[in-house]
Symmetry: C2
Subunit: 378 residues, 2 copies
């Protein structure tokens, strides 16, 4: 699959050795998947952040579902897809919102309830087994007994996943900021896992160009799969650089991860995040240039990584906030980090991470935001 | 899900105690799934039997795929479903056969290649993760680069799984002999896990009626999901009782399992197989009575459970045949048996099973057969 990490081998002279055997055995590790299962550090229990994100996405999901329904004159069968559904129950929270909106609107307009085909996509390495365990939970969340069919679609959303003109509604929550690969040309930077405010312009451009290529591919694939007037709602991590010339701040999650790694292994080696958080203008420009979609909504929300909003000077509160954020980031990155550094490092790393977060608990410079964009297939 | 086992608690006075806590914790265990993963006793490595079955099913799959294509005048998008795909690569062996047949025929008749939607169904407890690992294997088996989309559909095939009139081709290999539940009225029989030649008529009828209900439901659900002139190929274990009045024989797999269990626990308690192997006439009658499908092909093949065809009197050969069959049966039944008896018993049980098979190595009374039926949606 294309959404994999290029993990290069490298020398290391540190307490925590890079797992060279592992790196050579898996030169292209398809490691970009969330922790599976439903136990302690798994994505499903640690994705409270995503639930919060869902609460800000919901109004746009509902509005666009309603508009899609009326614009398409209440289709008899509606195919909905979650791209990057991950493992666990969260995919069903958004999906049940959409299905319930459809059923309520059909009742209101005296239309017969459609059959709804709910497609859950993620990489083939995703833990679909755990997701499928929550189908009963999904059915309980549905307010009516209309026909609803669930399927799992394993594959990269940077390739075609569905037949031509088959999808009526697509959503993707906190997925498309993940790139198909780490950009080339970052070999010299051994101090951070992502661009920082002190990165050279060439590194910033390497990331931006990779995002442009990937997001354009994403839009082109979806434009082939969607019906005319179909809707797409995308929620992703972005940057608010419009009022703030600093495009990386001290408590960006990858800055904190770089600091934590350096505490343990002195260098981050060739480990880089296949990630880009675009600003609003970058997103708009790529959509305009690709040309298949009209922007319907575009919202920017504060990005709140798991810790409570109230700033508190109590040391214990700061520590707790640090642990929460560390859990979130661990759930998302553990598979990637283990593929590169082995698993000996992980507990200590996120202990450090929690500490760094707590040091920045009262920091006000936050450039990370959540972007929500809704699109109409022209 | 409906395809679950009713596992009742019972008293036990034996060396291997029935796991009462387990039985009471999971009064309705959704235990009817094959061993997952891809290690030793897993279904994926031990399903050589199914590969052999596939080789006898293939000609009918190919023939019906071709007839479907021409009857439906080469649809632009073709949706194919494997019902009861199980875990591992086997589902892709049949699926690649169908996809390749479609592509070859399109080339032959100078038609553009359709997009093909490949839907893999099994119960939500099935190990879809392992199946999805074989997508690369699937793509390698395809002879052309047409668009092919894979999805996993978790659910019981005794309920609706797909939208109305969406499927062009369905196949199911060695699945529909599994019932949605163990029939009622078998409580008195504590000596065998299935009907035997000495079972009272009432037990035989309980099983037959359950199969009638289940298979009728299966046909009705599929008739709603399939397009007019769509095709369905079903391969299942059946009984050849037309020339043989004995409807259970000494080396039927469930007779051997009953014997092995009794060797260890004296009684089989309330453990019963949710299984029925119909004869040809029973299958034909249910299809006729349901009324949505026309029978296109109906074949009966020798049932060969893993051991070589050549009868051999060498003790070592007999033992090897026993072990092979024991592995096959273990892969299919282990989850169910563990849910009822706990896992302490399993190794010893299949050791006994292998021994019983070897005792019947030269036995000629084989009533088990493989039935293959192809149907056209009227």
């Amino acid at each position: 699959m294309s959404l994999c990490l290029i993990l290069c081998r490298c020398d290391c002279k540190s307490e925590y050795k890079v797992d060279e055997e592992r790196s050579s055995k898996y030169p292209f590790v398809g490691a970009l998947c969330m922790n599976g299962g439903d136990v302690d550090n798994s994505y499903t229990t640690k994705s409270l952040l995503q639930k919060r994100v869902l609460s800000i996405t919901n109004p746009i999901l509902v509005k666009n579902t309603e508009e899609m329904l009326t614009n398409l004159d209440f289709p008899k069968c509606i195919k909905v897809a979650d791209l990057g559904c991950s493992s666990g129950q969260n995919t069903f929270l958004a999906m049940s919102e959409i299905v319930n909106t459809i059923n309520v609107l059909c009742q209101k307009w005296n239309q017969s309830r459609p059959e709804i085909d709910c497609c859950l996509n993620d990489l083939p390495t995703n833990d679909f087994n755990t997701t499928f365990k929550f189908i009963t939970f999904f059915n309980k969340k549905l307010t009516s007994n209309g026909s609803c069919f669930v399927s799992g679609v394993p594959g990269s959303f940077y390739s075609r996943l569905f037949p031509r003109k088959s999808l009526h509604f697509i959503y993707s929550i906190y997925s498309i900021h993940f790139l198909s690969k780490v950009p080339d040309g970052l070999e010299k930077n051994k101090m951070s896992v992502y661009i920082t405010s002190s990165s050279p312009l060439s590194e910033y451009k390497a990331y931006l160009n990779q995002f442009k290529r990937d997001f354009t591919t994403f839009l082109r694939m979806r434009s082939e799969e969607m019906v005319h007037n179909g809707r797409m709602v995308l929620t992703l991590i972005g940057r608010n650089t419009l009022d703030n010339p600093l495009y990386r701040d001290c408590c960006h999650c990858w800055t904190l991860l770089s600091n934590s790694l350096r505490d343990l292994v002195f260098e981050v080696y060739s480990f880089k995040m296949p990630f880009y958080d675009p600003n609003e203008e970058e997103v708009k420009e790529i959509i305009r240039n690709e040309g298949s979609f009209q922007i319907n909504d575009l919202e920017m929300h504060e990005f709140d990584l798991g810790h409570s909003k109230e700033k508190c000077s109590l040391q214990s509160h700061k520590a707790k906030a640090g642990q929460k954020e560390a859990s979130c980031i661990r759930a998302v990155t553990e598979t990637m980090l283990v593929a590169h550094f082995g698993d000996d490092i992980i507990d200590a790393l996120f202990h450090k991470y929690a500490h760094h977060v707590s040091q920045h608990a009262s920091c006000r410079v936050k450039t990370s935001v959540t972007l929500i964009v809704s699109l109409v297939r022209k």
